[in-house]
């Protein structure tokens, strides 16, 4: 069966909802914007002092300029991919580590399980920003990759919890019992019987982790802990705050980054809501 027919069948069954399509559409638009945008504009205009400062949006500068003489449109085009990149790196690492720990905890149980569970539960309830501030504040030379790593250090607990709970359910299923009786090894069971059934949960966790990571990155950057010499959406917010752009009425400075950030979060949120319905056909019939 081709991919297309399979997609059409899923759509007819109501598994692919409008919510999922809308969410993915928004995300696709943002990804295209950040992939194609840099080909058409020159990064030079986003450097301090490149253009006339404090110009409102108009024919000359599509989104105006900030008070340090940067073209906002150019800045936005280069900042969006950087922010997405940090979210994706942190998301991959967080979900990877989280899945591994969840599998280990759920599959092997015992003292290892207890330690992983206690630590992840304790970290889940702590305000992430508090620990991230301590880590980020102690790093001398910050860049976007290090930022992603810092955020990823607290991005694994939710995945661990979900995966662990699922492993505990799946390992009691009869097909796992059959595999065990057939003499499959622990690892074979883990990778051939349990892992494939975890995929929907891992994908859902990934969407959630990317969203949480971007939230944390922007939060740290707004506090001035980001890589201040790099162009990111959070840094743009930080600089606009530093220059009291809100009070001085330069709405074009903080407005566009907020719109892009909001679009990213709404896209991710709709995707995760829609994906629930896709992964769990019982919901589709409601």
């Amino acid at each position: 069966m081709s991919l297309l027919t399979s997609l059409r069948r899923n759509y007819q069954q109501g598994r692919i909802s409008g919510t999922l399509l809308l969410g993915l559409g928004i995300l696709l638009a943002i990804v295209l914007f950040s992939a194609i945008g840099p080909m058409f504009v020159d990064a030079v205009n986003a450097q301090v002092g490149a253009v006339r400062p404090r110009r409102p949006p108009g024919p000359e500068y599509f989104l105006g300029t900030d008070s340090q003489g940067r073209d906002m449109w150019t800045l936005l085009i280069y900042a969006t991919p950087n922010t997405l990149k940090m979210g994706l790196i942190a998301g991959f690492i967080g979900v990877g580590v989280g899945t591994a720990l969840g599998l280990i905890a759920g599959h092997f149980g015992g003292i290892v399980d207890a330690i992983i569970r206690v630590i992840s539960d304790a970290l889940l309830t702590v305000p992430a920003i508090a620990i991230l501030v301590i880590i980020a504040g102690n790093i001398d030379r910050m860049n976007t990759v290090i930022m992603a790593l810092v955020v990823a250090s607290l991005g694994w607990m939710f995945t661990t919890r979900t995966v662990r709970a699922q492993v505990l359910t799946i390992r009691e299923k009869s097909y796992v019992e059959v595999a065990r009786v057939n003499g499959e090894s622990q690892w074979e069971i883990l990778f051939t019987e349990i892992m494939p059934n975890l995929m929907p949960y891992i994908v859902a966790s990934f969407v959630g982790t990317v969203s949480g990571s971007i939230l944390a990155v922007i939060g740290l950057e707004a506090l001035g802990l980001g890589a201040l010499d790099e162009m990111t959406l959070g840094n743009t917010i930080y600089w606009s705050q530093q220059s009291s752009a809100v009070l001085r009425g330069y709405w074009w400075w903080w407005g566009p980054p907020i719109v892009v950030i909001a679009a990213i979060f709404i896209g991710l949120f709709l995707t995760s809501v829609g994906f629930d319905r896709f992964a769990n056909p019982k919901l589709a019939r409601r």
């Binding site: 920003i129 922007i218 705050q241 709405w251």
Partner: protein
Amino acid sequence: MSRELVRYLLTRFGQLLLIIFVAVSINFIIPRLLPGDPVQTALARLQATGGAQNVDIQAISAAYRAKYGLDAPLLEQYANYWLDLFRLDLGVSFANFPEKVSTMIGNALPWSVSLLAVATLIAFATGSLLGARLAWPTAGRGIKAFVPLMMILTSIPFYLLAIILIYFFAVVLKWFPPAGGVDTTRIMRLDWATTEDILRHAFLPCLAIILGNVGFWALGMRSQMVSVLGEDYITFAEAKGLHPRRIFVWYGMRNALLAQVTALALSLGSVVSGAVLVEVIFNYPGLGSLLYVAIRGQDYFVIQGVVLMLIVSLAVLLFLVDLIYPLLDPRIRR
């Protein structure tokens, strides 16, 4: 009190102690894991940025080394760290030498706690009510329109909502002050003028936190209500001929609220994280702004103190929510 209840309370108290222990240890270990002497680095950076021309760096550094014995073995430093915490000694500020960090935190704490408590309670109550209303079987089209709005509000970080609120209500319309916790010229007294001033300043930050959270509670309550209303005991109550309103409130909402309280405990961490940033945006005189100023001024002990305070007070709050839980759910009490 039954044995189960005692066990429940003891487990929760153990968790509280564990979180505090982990938080204090992280706070102690991370700066020491990174290369270099944290205090020397912080002081050097402070000097480089010209933030401390009026303080005697050498004096602070020497006082610090003598007091904390930075050359002592790690375990001894760790023990000293705990001892100081028990004496509520969080060190002194570099930027405002020699003001104590504990005093600075004590001044900021009431602002943060009252802002966050009021905003969270309002958001929780209105969100849960709205969510329950949305799950009402005959909910009209008008109220259903709230669902996408709630989805949008939940997904946007609420410190960004704060910026938008300031622009419209403080800059364009000038209805509310754009920043601060109280008029800079006001002499604080226990009178109506002062109270009104504080409330006027608190309104927008409060609104930002409420708007950012209400959707989360409404959507959560709605899905809880939908699943609770499908339970057998609801069918049974209907068969008994109870009034629909009574079924909805006392059989439906009461049970759905349980899950909401659990969610409250789990989400407090992210609410606090967001509120820290809301305070920064509004320059509100709470812990968030204190943290921000400390980060900008490389004020090492203040950063550590605030972070510790945030973690510990959240752990205590979680414990309090756990204490309320048996009152709501008789199954735990028994």
